[in-house]
């Protein structure tokens, strides 16, 4: 059967184009490799970054030292050992030496003791716990508040944006030391009263000062996060999927939660990780001023501040918390940098 030559202008379709695919052809469409999603992609890149992985390991070691080791440590952070005041590192008091002579085993004071006979090593560890708790909780608060406010400002724009950004301007301008000191004083009594209400006893355990510190972080430091999120949302909301979601009848809240926040999750992770060291910085600064966590609970800042007075005679008392602060902040910073390289879409 001779095929008739097809007219070039004919609209008739060529039947050969619609033959079912052969097994060979099907083969080419089989997915050879699992598609990589956002998280896998980011973590793969993170795992290849040696510095960031080292920092991650250091952060985990620090978390273990601060949160798990004190549970098993033979001394308590407020336990005062009589006769063991101001011991040098690895030194024993006379009573302890006697006990050792009698065959008892006494756990060494690795970093010595302070002027009240408290083991300094456990105080540094608990101090690290306090500082890291403050850093992490404060960053979580900042993430929550900053991201919501920033998203609202960026999404709605116009008047809402204008009002929020003016509030941000004002908060940037108010000296934070002023608000922190005043709030710490103002909140002390209400919080102490609240601690007496059943169910709020945990406030006493944490100390009202630490609570007011969280309030301060929540009130003042969300502005940076809000600015970053706002910028991201303003770009993201121009995307077609937002129009599509709106056309399908999604509410504003759903668009923000489901589509916009999820799309700037990389920025959120990075900013929060980098917020942790800066919160620890602020905490140590406040404790240094004496308005941070309450004695006898130590924080790295208050330990360093207390060590200043005896700097000439006991320099090691300053070095221990100083090195701790340095390692914690450095490793969180390096981890944050690594996360940025791994998760920031702009860096790809």
């Amino acid at each position: 059967m001779e095929e008739k030559k097809k007219n070039i202008l004919s609209m008739q379709l060529n039947v050969d184009d619609f033959v079912p695919a052969s097994p060979d052809e099907k083969e080419s469409l089989v997915v050879m490799r699992e598609s990589v999603n956002f998280w896998q992609d980011g973590f793969r890149r993170l795992r290849r970054n040696k510095i960031a992985m080292t920092a991650l390991v250091v952060v985990i070691i620090m978390l273990i030292l601060a949160f798990i080791v004190p549970v098993f440590y033979p001394y308590g952070y407020e336990q005062q050992i009589k006769g063991a005041e101001r011991l040098a590192p690895m030194e024993y008091s006379s009573t302890e030496l006697e006990a050792i002579a009698n065959g008892e085993s006494v756990f060494p004071h690795i970093l010595g003791t302070d002027q009240n006979g408290r083991d300094y090593c456990i105080r540094v560890l608990v101090g690290a716990r306090v500082s890291m708790t403050v850093g992490i909780v404060a960053s979580a608060l900042i993430l929550l508040i900053g991201a919501s406010i920033g998203a609202i400002a960026g999404f709605f724009g116009g008047m809402v944006d204008m009002v929020i950004m003016r509030i941000v301007d004002i908060l940037y301008t108010v000296p934070d030391v002023l608000i922190i000191i005043l709030l710490a004083q103002a909140l002390q009594f209400p919080l102490q009263n609240l601690a007496k209400v059943p169910g709020f006893g945990w406030i006493t355990a944490m100390g009202p000062n630490m609570m007011s510190m969280f309030v301060v972080f929540a009130l003042l430091y969300w502005v940076g996060m809000a600015r970053i999120v706002r910028g991201q949302i303003m770009v993201l909301k121009q995307n077609e999927y937002v129009t599509a979601a709106k056309a399908l009848g999604a509410t504003n809240g759903r668009v923000i939660k489901k589509h916009l926040i999820t799309n700037c999750i990389g920025t959120l992770i990075v900013t929060t990780t980098l917020q942790i060291p800066s919160s620890i910085f602020t905490e140590s600064f406040l404790s240094f001023l004496g308005i941070g966590v309450q004695a006898p609970m130590p924080s790295l800042g208050s330990l360093a501040s207390a060590a200043l007075n005896g700097l000439q005679t006991y320099p090691e008392k300053l070095f221990a918390p100083a090195v701790m602060i340095f390692i914690i902040i450095l490793s969180f910073n390096l981890l944050g940098d690594g996360l940025r390289d791994a998760f920031d879409p702009k860096m790809k």
Partner: protein
């Protein structure tokens, strides 16, 4: 542009006004008062003191009086330093902090920017790694640690530098290092990352093809484009450095504004708190406007609107 600047200034005045109002009411609503902590003050004497400074009047009336005086540039009398006006205190303390902060700022800028440029140009080389390691370590040291360590090593152990005050030029060295450490490292990091962006641009290749020297290429062609993030950071930084760091002023016993301010807050010296806050706020606002205007000069593509 003139319209934009006028608009920014008006917004700035509004912000300063709101900050002043907020501070006034927060300060007064917090429990405690300026004369409560003083020893041997009988209730009668306290009333007399409060009457003298107008603290017995209703709060809103105090606010109106204060704002009225403020419009005339009068920041009132200090409650704790008898015989000193707040204007006088700021006039004497600010120059001390400003000189120190200004020097630290210059050090941070003229050290941080070249370091960042060199690191970006030598990307991946030993110099780059060296600069990265040091700048990352530098932003992990709180200022109270760097200043105490400096003091311990340079003045207690080696006895090279005086540890207190600002009596001689030598005594500026340690506070300036302690103040400038963080911003220097931060600027170096900022500069490096924005420089890396710029170095990859086509016009850099063009400049190189034309035969521009490396030095001129980096410090003229690339720097102008890469320095914007640093300028953004420097506005607020200059304000915070020049108005004094409490920690460093306390450790090195420097009679500056930062020290005075924290002292005023803890002792509830209301007029001094108000005066310093308004002064600091105005400084920050002015710096932000200056930064915005500088933008347009550095990068003519940016239109102010």
């Amino acid at each position: 542009m003139a319209k934009y600047i006028v608009k920014r200034i008006l917004f700035g005045i509004a912000t300063a006004f709101i900050v002043a109002t907020l501070t006034f009411f927060i300060m007064n609503l917090v429990p405690g008062g300026p004369f409560l902590s003083e020893k041997a003050v009988t209730p009668a004497a306290q009333e007399a003191l409060e009457a003298k400074y107008g603290l017995d009047k209703p709060l809103f009336q105090q606010y109106l009086t204060y704002m009225g005086d403020l419009l005339h540039g009068d920041l009132g009398d200090s409650l704790k330093k008898r015989g000193f006006t707040v204007n006088r205190i700021i006039e004497t303390k600010f120059p001390v902090s400003a000189r120190l902060g200004g020097i630290a700022m210059l050090v941070a800028f003229f050290l941080g920017v070249p370091l960042g440029c060199i690191a970006a140009y030598k990307r991946g080389k030993v110099v780059d790694n060296f600069i990265i390691v040091f700048s990352t370590a530098g932003i992990a040291i709180p200022s109270f640690l760097s200043s105490t360590l400096l003091m311990y090593i340079l003045s207690t152990k080696l006895g090279l530098l005086p540890s207190l005050g600002l009596s001689e030029p030598k005594s500026y060295i340690m506070p300036v290092i302690a103040l400038a450490l963080y911003p220097t490292c931060y600027i170096a990091r900022l500069m490096r990352s924005s420089m890396l962006d710029v170095i990859g641009q086509d016009y850099m290749r063009t400049a190189r093809a034309k035969g521009v020297s490396t030095f001129k290429m980096i410090f003229k062609h690339a720097l102008r484009n890469a320095i914007l993030p640093v300028v953004t950071y420097m506005g607020p930084l200059l304000a915070s450095l020049m108005t004094g760091s409490f920690i460093i002023e306390k450790i090195f016993t420097i009679p500056g504004l930062g020290h005075e301010f924290v002292g005023a807050i803890t002792s509830r010296d209301y007029p001094l708190i108000m005066g310093t806050t308004i002064f600091l706020a105005t400084f920050i606002i002015v710096m932000n406007v200056v930064v915005d205007i500088l933008y347009a000069f550095i990068d003519p593509r940016i239109k102010l609107k």
